[in-house]
Amino acid sequence: MENVIEAIGLTKSFGAFTAVNAISFHVQKGEIFGFLGANGAGKTTAIKMLIGIANPTSGAAKVAGFDVFTEAESIKRNIGYMSQKFALYDDLTVKENITFFGGIYGLTRAAIKTKTQALIDELNLENVANHLVGSLPLGWKQKISFSVALLHNPKIVFLDEPTGGVDPITRRQFWEMIYKAAHQGTTIFVTTHYMDEAEYCDRVSIMVNGKIEALDTPKNLKKTYKAENMNDVFLKLARG
């Protein structure tokens, strides 16, 4: 099986403080990988290294086949990223946003046109395609944001708390989109504070104070920690 992420002893220090402490793991092609941890455990710093916008202090990692130290630019071109803070432009329309990001990712005009229509059809956005994104409900924005992160057919997409504050029905529709993308071979790297969503992942890692404290399938984690659900696993682990 092809690995889309390979990290060995990946470390990031800020002065005397070690935010990410020698984490080692791999993520396979088409896998839904849940990257969990308490606030301040080091998740965001780890993600920043993996997507090529922060230099590791030590260790090694490859993402989509590229080295995080020497090929950060290639990583950025070959991954999708959706941040917890909404990343589309509120004062552009849905169509304009798709065109803009398509251009950023170097798609041709023809490809952008096809992709735009496909995306609008799939998300049922026909009626709001020319509306400003700022006027749409959060759940819609998040779904569009996810689709935009997939525009250039990346091997892997990083989703940083994509469903925070989203209503329960839309949250589930969002996960159906995740499943579909994974089913088509896109690797999903996702963080969430909803523990029911942790159950939807193929494998889950839990970060505590900069280290990966546990990494397994939800089923095995529940067994190992004698827990009824992932919430219990998290509560047992996350504060040491």
Partner: protein, 300 residues
């Protein structure tokens, strides 16, 4: 009654934010406002804390009218907005001192009330608020909202974006605060937190869907609910979405919660359908609806 709302409506340009809202919160009650982003929760908070006036209807807090007696309300309530609103360039201690002084009190006078929370951020009391982690900011904001010993505490999504452990600690704190007699109105998008309230109101698109205790509200779910599991979740969801008798099918952790559009369904028939779709390791069993199931059924 600690809070009363009578037919409150509020519109912005072309959005009806609140549509004829009426309910009461009893003194000392922990009352939850449960609904997604954009439901109208923040507008409701802003009306009750006198920062916004309603288009129509009336409301009282601690028996004061939100329009006529707005100054008295401002003195007697604590408000923690959803967006971090303390002074980022003041330290932890300076922020707390500032809010105590504004309300004509001192940290010392009401220290008992905030002690449990404040000791957790005290090691960082000389750090600027803008440099705190999310969980720390939230604790400081709660301290600042409590420092004048309010009768009613308004907490607008205090736990959004907060991890499960910190969320649990936060709710333990709320329960302790409730013991001191403070009335608490709290909003949250997390359905598991709803179970910890005395009563909850489901709100969506500016309207109240239902108000009841967490134990009673699940009785509004009228169908039989099934837990369904199979070897492949994606395939299971796909198959259920194409089944002609599906009323609802939502993933819930390791199961799909399924309800049927017929009065009497035969689980064996569904089992056979799923087998025909190539699924195996199929489990179908009756389960109890949760608060989240009930919300989704009402919101559908």
């Amino acid at each position: 009654m600690s809070i009363t709302l009578n037919h409150i409506s509020k519109s912005y340009k072309n959005v009806q934010a609140l549509n004829d809202i009426s309910f009461n919160v009893k003194a000392g009650e922990l009352f939850g406002l449960i609904g997604p982003d954009g439901a109208g929760k923040t507008t409701l908070f802003r009306i009750l804390t006198t920062l916004l006036t309603a288009d129509s209807g009336s409301a009282t807090v601690s028996n004061f009218d939100v329009v006529k007696d707005y100054k008295k309300i401002r003195n007697s309530v604590g408000y923690m907005p959803g967006k971090f609103s303390l002074y980022q360039d003041l330290t932890v201690e300076e922020n707390l001192n500032f809010f105590a002084t504004i309300f004509g009190t001192t940290i010392k006078e009401n220290y008992d009330l905030i002690k449990d929370i404040y000791v957790q951020i005290e090691p960082f009391k000389n750090r600027r608020a803008g440099k705190l982690s999310g969980g720390m900011k939230q604790k400081l904001a709660l301290c600042c909202a409590l420092i004048h010993k309010p009768e009613v505490l308004f907490l607008d999504e205090p736990t959004t974006g907060v991890d499960p452990v910190s969320r649990k600690e936060f709710w333990d704190m709320l329960k302790r605060l409730q013991q001191t007699g403070i009335t608490i109105l709290v909003s949250t998008p997390y359905m598991d937190e709803a179970a910890l309230c005395d009563r909850i109101a489901f709100i969506q698109n500016g309207s109240i869907l239902e108000i009841d205790s967490p134990q009673e509200i699940v009785k509004h779910f009228s169908k039989t609910l099934y837990n369904i599991r199979a070897h492949n979740m994606y395939q299971l969801m796909e198959s259920l979405s194409h089944y002609k008798h599906t009323f609802s099918a939502y993933p819930f952790g390791e199961y799909v919660h399924y309800s049927d559009n017929r009065m009497d369904m035969n689980p064996n028939e569904l089992h056979m359908y799923l087998v025909s779709k190539g699924l195996n390791e199929i489990i179908i069993e009756v389960t109890q609806p949760t608060i989240e199931d009930t919300f989704m059924a009402l919101a559908k």
